[in-house]
């Protein structure tokens, strides 16, 4: 270790001394707490007469939640914990009925009861849980708390089969089965996140502190989120607004060594009764970090600065839920200055390691090149419960995204961005969720989106005004050990673009795209341990604005990119099968999938660079080709009842351009993540684990057209420790972790900066969550 590192360590230790004291106090008082956000609404009636049952008692066996039904037979249970529960309805005149099921989110129950005087054979209970989730596709709470100080991409990639496309450490986009950007739909609290997501270096504009739960959706129910969820949907959910009168809140904080950064968030939520009940939440967060460090040198200009705000107000009753919200995201992201390459000569020099990066020092300063992003979302969401006729969901939202990219190259016009794009997106949708008969749940919906895109300064993509609409339906039917799902949608989009040519004349084009998409799923439970799922479908997406219109040098990427106005919509046929085996202590899921694209859109490298006044640049054209992407995801976990656990996640991927026979560029290498740990999860709550990430060398690349070979395989070891307890009567969680413990020098194929520098070295973090 050189001298500067030793000084960092001393400063670091001083800051953390107070935390160490705090930590030991915490150890002495540990207690248990849980996340119970679910509501159960219900309706009970006499099976013979159809009359509602008043004054019946409903309770959840595992907890103390109790409710009484009103004169309409209606009841509501709040703050019910997720997991296996038993709900019983009891009334002196009727035979008690109980139902045991796995509660995952808000649910509606309908009880039909027999009078004690009668003696009918059948008593029916209808359970309506419209969204069913695969627990393996949710990010574990443990992983959420480990990643609170990081961009949202770090949390999302904890799901098997998901990785990240990074531009340095500040910019991270989710990649599902090798696909990203316009093939992945991100939903933030039920609103489609819309910005300039066509850019590989444009990260999702999400405050990670505001997200309570992350789930990845594939298969039939993805049609509910748009036809273009070709790779899948990432659902980001905030916490539910509180149901109990009072005020509570949460303070979250992360301090980390690599980048010497701090990220903090404060949330206050509460409920009051002013004639009608109002629940609210206000949350704000901020973060600041400086230059990152690889094992051997600092990465100049990789600081991050950001601040965010979220406000929500809602009201919830037996028949309705309404919520209004306003969210704002602001961030300034420094782009590694050593990556800001002029042309092919410079690029080749950088690849050859000719750049001397050792002169960089630590600094919080952010200079050009950097990105500055503003994102604002506001809207209303509502749910209306119509007893026997199901539920109506209506959402309306507006987003504004303003992205500016400042390159180092704009010396005479300081403060004017090279890229200045503003996009407004208005979305409205209505869904009707209904159970026509037992074991059959159904959703019908309609949605509309209007977008306005405006550019300022140098042209890269045009202005456009687009209108898109969709009609969709989702059906699920269960019978004995079989379950069937079918999703169907029709989407159409019309777009008018506007730009100026060299003479200043306005050029305008109109584009129209439309198609059906569908997805079917069949699930069979072979016995109580084994389950098999078969899933297939067709999806499509219109070409993105960049794929059609991009023209010019992409400064941050040292590449010259050309779009094509003639590109057609991209279509994909998908087939996947999943095998699930579960018994006491043991959980296994294997998912194999195949995606066939008759006209896959991608940026193909040209054989010869393009010659400009600034020298030669690697050139890329957006083309369409026949492609196949296939792979296998495996999730395996062993969890004993004495605290010990072990898990493994593997993701293997193959991708071929069928027309040329070449491998596709930019496909993640095979990777294997394993963890071994010990946890105590009862009246005391803590865990310790060691995690290993092994990423293979991506040998499946078209070597003759790639600029450089892919990086070598690498292996990272992480240590994590978490503790939850009560400190001064507040529930506190502390997570301490060391990432890349061995300070391994490595580069990742999906990091766009891999040509220029190594990836980051060791990072020690301390995350604190205090609930009050």
């Amino acid at each position: 270790m050189n001298q500067p590192f030793l000084l960092d360590y001393i400063q670091f230790k001083m800051i953390y001394q107070s935390y160490i004291l705090y930590f030991f106090i915490l150890l002495s008082t540990l207690s248990f707490s849980q996340n119970c956000p679910n509501k159960i609404r219900g309706f009970a009636f006499d099976v013979k007469t159809g009359d509602p049952i008043e004054f019946g008692h409903v309770h959840v066996s595992e907890t103390k939640s109790v409710s009484v039904s009103n004169e309409n037979g209606e009841f509501i249970l709040t703050d019910v914990c997720s997991g296996k529960i038993t709900v019983c309805f009891h009334h002196i005149n009727f035979k008690e009925v109980c139902e045991t099921f796995n509660l995952q989110n808000d649910t509606t129950l309908t009880f039909e009861l027999q009078s004690v005087i009668q003696d009918l054979d059948e008593v029916e209970i209808q359970i309506v849980q419209h969204e069913k989730s695969d627990p393996h596709l949710k990010v574990e709470a443990k992983k959420m708390t480990q990643n609170i100080g990081k961009p949202i991409g770090s949390s999302i990639e904890q799901v098997t089969g998901v990785t990240s496309l990074n531009t340095g450490n500040g910019v991270s986009k989710p990649v599902i089965h090798g696909m990203h950007s316009n093939r992945v739909v991100i939903m933030n609290d039920n609103v489609r996140l819309e910005g300039q997501q066509w850019g590989g270096d444009h990260a999702p504009e999400i405050d990670p502190f505001a997200i309570e739960e992350i789930e990845v959706i594939k298969g039939a129910s993805s049609v509910l989120y748009g036809s273009d969820a070709i790779a899948g949907v990432v659902l980001l959910k905030p916490s539910s607004l509180p149901d109990t009168i009072g005020v509570s809140g949460k303070f979250q904080n992360s301090i980390f060594s690599n980048g010497r950064g701090v990220a903090s968030s404060m949330t206050v939520q509460g409920k009051m009764n002013r004639g009608f009940p109002i629940s609210y939440e206000i949350q704000g967060s901020g973060q600041k970090s400086g230059n990152l460090k690889t094992p051997n040198y600092y990465l100049d200009n990789t600081g991050i600065e950001g601040y965010n705000l979220s406000t929500r107000v809602g009201s919830s009753g037996l028949f309705y839920d309404v919520e209004m919200y306003y969210r704002q995201y602001n961030s300034t992201l420094g782009i590694f200055s050593g990556a800001h390459i002029g042309n092919l000569t410079d690029l080749e020099n950088a690849i050859a390691g000719y750049q001397d990066l050792s002169t960089a020092a630590f600094s919080y300063n952010i200079s050009p090149p950097y990105q500055k992003i503003f994102h604002e979302t506001m809207g209303v969401k509502s749910n209306w419960y119509l007893r026997k006729y199901g539920e109506i969901e209506a959402n309306l939202s507006r987003q504004k995204n303003h992205r500016r990219e400042f390159d180092a190259h704009g010396s005479t016009y300081e403060g004017i961005a090279e890229l200045d794009l503003t996009i407004y997106t208005d979305i409205g949708e209505v869904k009707w969720k209904y159970n026509p008969i037992n074991n059959w749940s159904s959703v019908f919906g309609v949605s509309g989106i209007r977008q306005t895109n405006l550019y300022k300064g140098r042209y890269f993509i045009p202005n456009f005004l687009s209108y898109a609409g969709g009609l969709f339906s989702f059906q699920r039917f269960k019978r004995n050990t079989w379950s069937y799902e079918l999703g169907l949608s029709f989407d159409a989009k019309t777009m008018d673009t506007y730009r100026r040519n060299d003479s200043g004349e306005i050029l305008s084009e109109n584009h129209v795209f439309s198609n059906f998409s569908w997805n079917g799923l069949i699930e069979k439970s072979l016995n109580e341990n084994n389950k098999v799922i078969l899933n297939g479908g067709f999806a499509w997406r219109p070409p993105s604005i960049a794929e059609l219109y991009a023209e010019g040098v992409h400064h941050g990427a040292a590449s010259y990119e050309v779009g094509d106005l003639g590109l057609q919509e991209e279509q994909v046929w998908n087939l996947s099968s999943t095998y699930h085996y579960q018994r006491r202590f043991f959980d296994l899921e294997i998912n194999a999938f195949l995606n066939y694209f008759p006209n896959f859109l991608y940026l193909q490298p040209r054989e010869n660079p393009i010659l400009t006044i600034r020298g030669a640049f690697p050139a890329f054209d957006y083309i369409q080709t026949e492609a196949i992407i296939k792979g296998i995801d495996v999730f395996l976990k062993y969890e004993s009842d004495i605290g010990f656990y072990a898990s493994n996640k593997s993701a293997l991927l193959w991708a071929i351009d069928e027309s040329s026979g070449n491998y596709l560029v930019g496909i993640p290498a095979n990777m294997f993540t394993s963890a071994i740990g010990y946890q105590i999860d009862n009246s005391q709550k803590w865990y310790a684990e060691i995690e290993s990430n092994y990423v293979m060398k991506q040998a499946r690349i078209p070597l003759d057209i790639e600029i450089a070979d892919s990086p070598n395989a690498y292996h990272l070891i992480n240590l994590n420790f978490g503790l939850t307890g009560n400190f001064l009567a507040k529930e506190t969680s502390i997570t301490i972790g060391i990432e890349n413990v061995l300070n391994t020098k490595y580069r990742d194929y999906l990091n766009r900066l891999r040509y220029f520098s190594d990836d980051v070295g060791t990072n020690i973090f301390l995350n604190t969550i205090i609930k009050f």
Binding site: G342, Y424, T452, G457, F464, L611, I613, G615
Partner: protein, 176 residues
């Protein structure tokens, strides 16, 4: 109830987008764009020749047009370099910009030929600039020479392998 009504109206009002802006795209703001490099050679007898590397329509589109530098054997030339923006009419001379930011720029000459290039002007810190230079040719040969304009704010130290490349023009070179 009134509160909800008010919020509804306020919200609806924000949904009215400014449609006019979309159909009126922004004009391109001209920045420091160099489209051409012009080399003016003066020989011992005060005869001048010019050779240029020019790409007036910018990146992509038509390929740049490149003159072949044709010089006599065993001669000395004084060379002046100008940088122009020929996408504008009249063409904008960017050389004075480079001159005024001399401390941040360096003209570099790279060649495998036998000619010798000596830079004859300096910036405010005494480091080479390269807008004027002296070329010494040797025997007859056919080769090439690359002229680069490097932008090196705060890092200029005389070396050519640092900084941004504003111009990199490779000229075929014939000495006869």
């Amino acid at each position: 109830m009134k509160k909800r009504f008010f919020f509804g109206i306020a919200f609806a009002a924000t949904l009215i987008a400014c449609k006019d802006d979309v159909t009126d795209p922004d004009h391109d703001h001209e920045e420091e764009v160099i489209t051409s490099v012009v080399l003016t050679f003066t020989d011992g007898a005060n005869n001048t020749q010019t050779f240029s590397f020019s790409d007036p329509d910018g990146d992509g589109g038509t390929d740049p047009s490149i003159d072949t530098i044709s010089l006599d054997t065993n001669a000395t030339y004084t060379v002046a370099i100008s940088f122009l923006n020929e996408s504008e009419t009249p063409a904008e001379d960017m050389t004075s910009e480079v001159q005024s930011e001399a401390n941040d720029h360096l003209v570099c000459f790279t060649t495998n030929s036998n000619i010798g290039v000596t830079i004859t002007d300096q910036d405010g810190n005494g480091l080479d600039l390269g807008l004027t230079s002296e070329w010494l040719t040797g025997n007859a040969e056919t080769s090439s020479i690359t002229i680069s304009l490097k932008h090196q704010p705060e890092i200029k130290d005389g070396s050519c392998n640092i900084g941004e490349t504003d111009v990199e023009a490779e000229f075929p070179l014939v000495i006869q």
